[in-house]
């Protein structure tokens, strides 16, 4: 459905279908959806709740398998990988930011960010340096030693972003990252996500129904009932290709 582009898309879904079965009811969430997401930009999928945007995010990030269709992320076909291989793929290539900040209450901001880095096989010093750099990047250099209970909501979300960023992922997924934040903190988080896409060339895929985000995304996909209704570029300078359906 999407037109071919100058650069290969970082994320690509081809005719994917996903249904959830609860008792006797079967809900078809996605049915034959195709999409391509590009590196270096902040792509926003917006739509009412229940439209299937979170399911799409889960599938594109390798958190959930598809029933039918194919999913490509970077050079891998996610729909062919098993659970362990998907975990490995996520470890090396993806970062996540969730609506709930999901920080361990016992760890300082610095430790929250260091924790996943330990599993990348980095040395203690490397992990520490990367974690500090990430926290500086989200503007929390002076709050590194604090526990989540001592941080504001906006600061907690910035720690969560630093945790995802420190892994230096090519793909960054954010699910309703601003929904739990007030206007100014929401703005800070949006700016940080946008900057990550621009400065690091990261593919940032954000799912939200927060209208404040629309003006800050490079590309906005509107979704409803498991289908993409519109696909438009907000920043003309980045319009490399035409809109999909």
């Amino acid at each position: 459905m999407n037109a071919p582009t100058a650069t290969a898309p970082a994320l690509r879904a081809e005719a994917i279908a996903k249904a959830f079965v609860s008792g006797a009811t079967r809900t078809q969430v996605l049915d034959g959806l195709s999409i391509a997401i590009h590196a270096g930009e902040l792509t926003l999928i917006s739509g009412p709740s229940g439209c299937g945007k979170s399911t799409l995010l889960a599938i594109l990030s390798g958190l959930q398998p598809v029933d039918a269709g194919r999913v490509f992320a970077l050079d891998a076909e996610l729909s062919r990988l098993d659970g362990a291989a998907l975990e490995r793929f996520r470890l090396w290539h993806t970062g996540f930011v969730f609506q709930g900040f999901n920080l361990f209450p016992a760890l300082t901001a610095l430790e929250q960010v260091e924790l996943p880095l330990d599993y990348l096989g980095l040395s203690r010093r490397q992990a520490r340096e990367r974690a500090e750099r990430s926290l500086e990047e989200v503007g929390l250099a002076h709050r590194m030693k604090l526990l989540p209970a001592e941080l504001s909501g906006g600061e907690k979300q910035r720690v969560a972003i630093a945790r995802a960023l420190a892994k230096q992922p090519q793909l960054l997924f954010a699910d309703e990252p601003t929904s739990a934040l007030d206007a100014s903190n929401g703005q800070i988080v949006i700016d940080i996500l946008h900057r990550i896409a621009r400065d690091h060339g990261t593919t940032v895929l954000c799912v939200s129904h927060d209208p404040r985000l629309i003006g800050h995304a490079d590309r906005v996909l509107a979704m409803e009932d498991g289908r993409i209704l519109s696909d438009r570029r907000v920043t003309p300078a980045h319009a490399l290709h035409g809109a999909g359906s």
């Binding site: 958190l63 793929f89 996520r90 996540f96 969730f98 999901n102 361990f104 016992a106 526990l147």
Partner: protein, 377 residues
């Protein structure tokens, strides 16, 4: 490596406290139970462990020291013929009926007739030479400090054993018996008290001291085959003590009861500990799911939970050890027979850590619910 398990344990110690207490009390109960079992059933062999003899010779097949039957006194000559044997002493052990001066009714007592000379082997570890010497006096007996009220006498008082008047000349300690009261006398007095005409002063056991105690095993084996001097069997002191204790533990049903109790304690401890750990894991489920989304494998998360379980067990044990030491000291002060040795203590520690591990494994099962996709709402 960020010490997630330990930091969470410290930060949320209130959440883990019930599990620590469960492991601690389960460990403490196992430990005290073991100490009591060792103490109580160990007193079945107090005749052997309180003495210095290397070999015990008694009626063939005797299962416990309190079940001995008279043997031919001539066996003593056979023992002395063996070059490894340095000396031999007879030991008379008999069941008797005690009537105190006070209004205490009848009391079943076990009379131990020994050679009272200062270097005698029997009860060498329980009696001082001065105390033993008092047994030279005819009809003199010594009883345990803990039994004296029960017997209705005081030191210097008189009582009747099997209708024969005896006088209490002193008290010992650590000689409490299983299922009765120990009374010590000289061989001559014991013969007077024996009402069984069939025994006619025959010894129940002959005990031997060896020139080289390390040879006990070989000498016992050598003596066992010979029947020329009448039926008898020889055991090393260690083997006979063990045989007596095991008889009480395993063949009386008491041991099975204790094992059953230990199993219940283990089960209850494991249920409480695992439930607490499951709750703790459930409380951090979203954080674990986030780590899993970031690619940290469920296997690695399991280790975090197991490590938490280990720390819970270790901290619980520290508490149990401190409390256990106080309680054991208290018990000893009250003449309660409690004995602990290193292997049994280690077994209790291993059991308590095993309990923590089993609970940790149960908690790990709940990690299967960590579905990072559930975080996308």
């Amino acid at each position: 490596m960020v010490a997630l398990a330990r930091k969470t344990l410290l930060h949320e110690w209130r959440r883990f406290l019930p599990a620590m207490l469960a492991v601690g009390f389960a460990g403490l109960l196992q430990l005290l139970q073991a100490a009591l079992v060792l103490g109580i059933f160990g007193s079945a062999s107090v005749y052997i462990t309180g003495s210095d003899a290397d070999l015990w010779v008694g009626y063939p097949g005797t299962q416990s020291v309190n079940l001995g039957r008279a043997i031919d006194p001539n066996v003593e000559a056979r023992l002395l013929m063996d070059p490894a044997v340095a000396r031999v002493e007879p030991f008379i052990w008999l069941d008797a009926d005690w009537r105190g001066a006070g209004d205490t009714g009848g009391e079943s007592v076990f009379v131990s007739g020994i050679d009272p000379r200062p270097d005698g082997m029997l009860f060498a570890r329980a009696l001082s030479p001065a105390l033993r010497a008092r047994l030279y006096e005819p009809d003199a007996v010594i009883v345990d400090r803990a039994d004296i009220d029960k017997l209705g006498v005081a030191v210097g008082g008189t009582a009747a054993i099997n209708g024969h008047t005896v006088r209490v000349v002193g008290v010992s300690s650590g000689l409490r018996a299983l299922g009765g009261v120990n009374v010590l006398s000289s061989l001559a007095t014991a013969r007077e008290l024996d009402t069984d005409p069939g025994d006619s002063g025959q010894p129940t056991y002959l005990v031997a001291g060896l020139r080289d105690p390390a040879q006990a095993e070989a000498v016992a084996r050598r003596l066992r085959g010979d029947r020329a001097f009448g039926p008898y069997e020889a055991w090393t002191a260690r083997a006979f003590a063990r045989r007596s204790v095991l008889y009480w533990m395993l063949d009386t049903g008491a041991g099975a009861g204790v094992l059953f109790l230990a199993a219940i304690v283990f089960l209850v401890g494991a249920v409480i500990t695992s439930q607490t750990l499951v709750a703790a894991v459930a409380g951090s489920m979203r954080e674990y799911a986030t780590l899993n989304a970031l690619g940290v494998g469920v296997g690695a998360l399991r280790w975090v939970v197991l490590e938490q379980a280990f720390w819970v067990g270790a901290l619980g044990l520290v508490g149990a050890t401190a409390l256990g030491a106080v309680l054991l000291a208290l018990a000893r002060g009250q003449d309660v027979p409690v004995v602990l040795n290193l292997p049994v203590t280690l077994a209790c520690v291993v059991l308590a850590l095993g309990l923590a591990a089993v609970s940790g494994l149960a908690a790990i099962r709940s990690l299967r619910r960590t579905d990072p996709a559930s975080l996308l709402r």
